[in-house]
Amino acid sequence: MGAAADITIDTARAAEGRPLLALEGVSKRFGKLQALSEISLDFKAGEVHCLLGENGAGKSTLCNLIFGSHAPDTGLMRFQGREWSPSGPAEALQSGIAMVHQHFSVVPRMSVVENLMLGQARGRLRHREQAALIRAMTAKFGLDVNPDAIVGELSVGERQRVEIVKCLMREPRLLVLDEPTAVLPPEEIGALLDIVRRVADDGRAVILVTHKLAEIAKVADRVSVLRGGKLVTSLPMQGTQMGDLVRAMVGREVTSLESALASSLAGIARAEKQGDGPHKYALVCDGITVRDAGGAVRLDNFTLEIAPGEVVGLAGVEGNGQTELGRVLAGLSPPTSGRFFIGEAEMTHASAAQITAQGAGIVPEDRHAVACVTGMSLAENIFLNKLGQFTRFGLLNRTALTEAAKGLMQDYDVRAAGPEIAFGSLSGGNQQKAVLGRELTLDPLVFLLAAQPTRGLDIGAVEAVYRQIRLAASRGVGVLLISSELDELIAASDRILVLYRGKVVGEKPARPDQREAIGALMSGHA
């Protein structure tokens, strides 16, 4: 690969330069949590510096300190040789530090152009010139963004591309990317990493936060590993072994994700397909078609049958109809046409409550918007759809609720200080395990929809999530697994359908040797 060749050339040059940004003994504490302790690091111009670590290791906190969202408690930062203590992100942006956040800061009702003009335009708005500029920039970097699209109608992946363009347009000296690839499909990850490389070669510094090792191998000049708020190691990428990095990150020896996942899941018995359960099918979709408000077809004649105990993977780049399908199956918006059945009962126009009662567990792709109420407690969220079980004469039995929540926390390995803690304070992995536990303990449970269930989760949580999904399948639950992580889909599914521009463009068995064929289908090369 061309990108890989560039890296080695640049590494040497970059290593000589003075640091653009230097951290000296920086610490940060949030309440009881020591988020960062005594971090000393140099970031050089022309260098792609990867920050590696599991969830909660302090990567995001470090970025937020650099970007001025938080101030360090102790320690010193130097930017371009001068002491760096930004009053806030505005100062960081002015001084040449731009950041792509995990959570987007775009205005959904505005178009892409309007979003990009926010905070930059002075006086008269030059719509057309700005749109042309964006087109030029997106073409240059291969970021597929339509300047006139309304941001709220874009998929999560597309929205993130808008964020990236927004940052690049400021021509920053230092570009910070906080897990930018978490929502991108494989071929776009490659394109993004190419951009990252180009930005660095242009004499800028790039900080790339990630927990995907493959990306690091492709693009990093230097890798720093954080664990529990401490800097474990910081090495030049050249000559570094992947295994060493993994060990540094998790503090123990693990095999690669795929093989770990595959061997972990292999131990779980596959269900008898012709089982004598009450249902012939867990889910039947018959020609589901969804048009958006503008009349454009977002999901086209989606037809699928899932047998009890079967795990069907739905691969595809985000924004190709998965979101729409998820909303239909969750009972949040009925399809424009077509029908679907859960355990032989038609649910096309049923409410969310009816779909739940019929035995469909739903793990939605947008956890914070659909799956949980972050302002309420963990216990309340775990039983959000089963509060009736704890109600007598209209009153809620909190003692029983708390006890039951403790049981589920144990069964599904939800790690938290206690059931009464605010849901929003949990890590993404523990939130997802709680949501999954809630949906998998529905009674009856016939079908499970898991949409992007591992987004933003660290390796340990990813494994736990798929383990639970496979266990459910072995009990005879039919599963539809929607993901843009192809490796995970291959490891966890029985067969894989590929969605491209709202259409199913192919079906393949879930085998590693099919990876390239599926990848080609995902990107539209049939």
């Binding site: 969310a352 949980c372 109420v373 959000l384 509060l387």
Partner: protein, 363 residues
């Protein structure tokens, strides 16, 4: 020794925190009062007279105290309704109109519902119930507009309130509605007095104080609200809908029903306040009888931070403030506008200290 020292230290910290929580709002209120007195002095009235008139009107006699508590009852009911709807993240600013609707319905029921001949219980309860239903309809209408058309409840409750105030005006102007028969050219545009059977029983002999059983009803309503919000599943569902409607819907909650019912309940409390105002003290309906209780009750609800006890405390405070203010106006000729300014200063002081304490806590 050292094992004992730690808990003792913790206690002292907790005590200091408690003291601070009390001292800050009290200090702020005192400061607001001092500024108010300064304003009175600037306006050329005697500060001593004003203070005396205020104390007389608020706490000066058993009668004054009873009147103040009766005012507090109306404020508390509106405030309780406010925190109920606010739990679902709905801001009910239509208390004034809900009082008005409750007053109309209670008067109509008392005059034309044949309650005069009923035994004491139903004769009192039926008009109150009518008041609740009318208020609930007014609040629920705003809820329906919200779930059906997405109309912001702040707008709809406020505008429905104006309609209700004008309905009061209409119903006491037209003899076909509630206006008393015209016997001379000086017959006022008011309803007939409601029959004695429909009037709320007094808690003390009336010549000593006007205190009536509205107080007991209000305490029951406060307990009901507290239980509903903190112990019931319904209260938790209101919270879920208020925090994240989509997640609540996905979890199978009947969101539309929850939203409508929350506003309907808020309205019912407002209507009850209106009925109690008519049946407890005023005895006949006249234009503008609600005289701002709905808006003061809204403030009480806002300042209570969602707690029923907070509503009761705030309502008492405002009840006494209102009585004292009226007395200042009459006895010490302090302009009515100035008493409103002083009330506003106190609201700012209390609300400001709440925000200050929250900031201190998070730091």
């Amino acid at each position: 020794m050292s094992t004992l020292a730690l808990p003792a230290g913790l206690d002292r910290n907790a005590l200091l925190k408690r003291l601070l929580q009390l001292a800050v709002p009290l200090g702020a209120t005192a400061a607001a009062l001092v500024i108010g007195l300064l304003l009175i002095a600037i306006s050329g009235r005697s500060v001593a007279d004003a203070i005396e008139a205020f104390m007389d009107g608020a706490f000066g006699s058993a009668f004054a105290i009873g009147a103040s508590i009766n005012r507090a009852v109306a404020l508390a009911l509106v405030g309780l309704g406010f925190i109920l709807a606010f739990r679902a993240n709905l801001t009910n600013v239509g208390g004034e109109g809900q009082i008005a609707m409750g007053g109309i319905a209670a008067t109509a029921m008392a005059l034309h519902g044949g309650v005069a001949s009923l035994p004491l219980g139903p004769a009192v309860l039926l008009p109150m119930l009518a008041g609740c239903v009318a208020g609930a309809a007014w609040g629920g209408a705003a809820g329906y507009l919200k779930v059906r058309f997405g109309t912001n409840e702040v707008i709809s409750t406020l505008l429905l309130g104006f309609i209700a105030l004008l309905l009061v005006y209409w119903s006491v102007q037209s003899e076909n509605l509630l206006r008393q028969p015209r016997t001379s050219s000086s017959t006022l545009p008011e309803s007939l007095p409601i029959p004695e059977a429909a009037q709320l029983p007094a808690l003390t002999p009336f010549d000593e104080s006007p205190l009536h059983i509205g107080l007991a009803i209000c305490v029951v309503a406060a307990i009901f609200t507290a239980i509903l919000l903190s112990r019931s599943t319904y209260g938790l569902k209101l919270r879920a809908v208020g925090l994240n409607e989509l997640a609540a819907r996905r979890a199978g909650m009947p969101c539309n029903l929850l939203l409508i019912s929350a506003l309907a309940m808020a309205g019912a409390f407002g209507g009850l306040a209106g009925a109690i105002m008519i049946q407890g003290e005023q005895y006949y309906l006249k234009a503008g009888f609600s005289s701002g209780y709905g808006f003061d009750g809204l403030v009480v609800g806002l300042l209570s931070r969602g707690s029923a006890i907070g509503v009761l405390a705030g309502a008492l405070f405002f009840g006494f403030l209102r009585s004292g203010g009226i007395s200042m106006e009459i006895m010490a000729q302090v302009p009515a506008a100035l008493t409103l300014v002083i009330q506003g200063l106190i609201v700012i002081a209390v609300a400001g200290s709440v925000i200050l304490l929250e900031k201190l806590e998070t730091r």
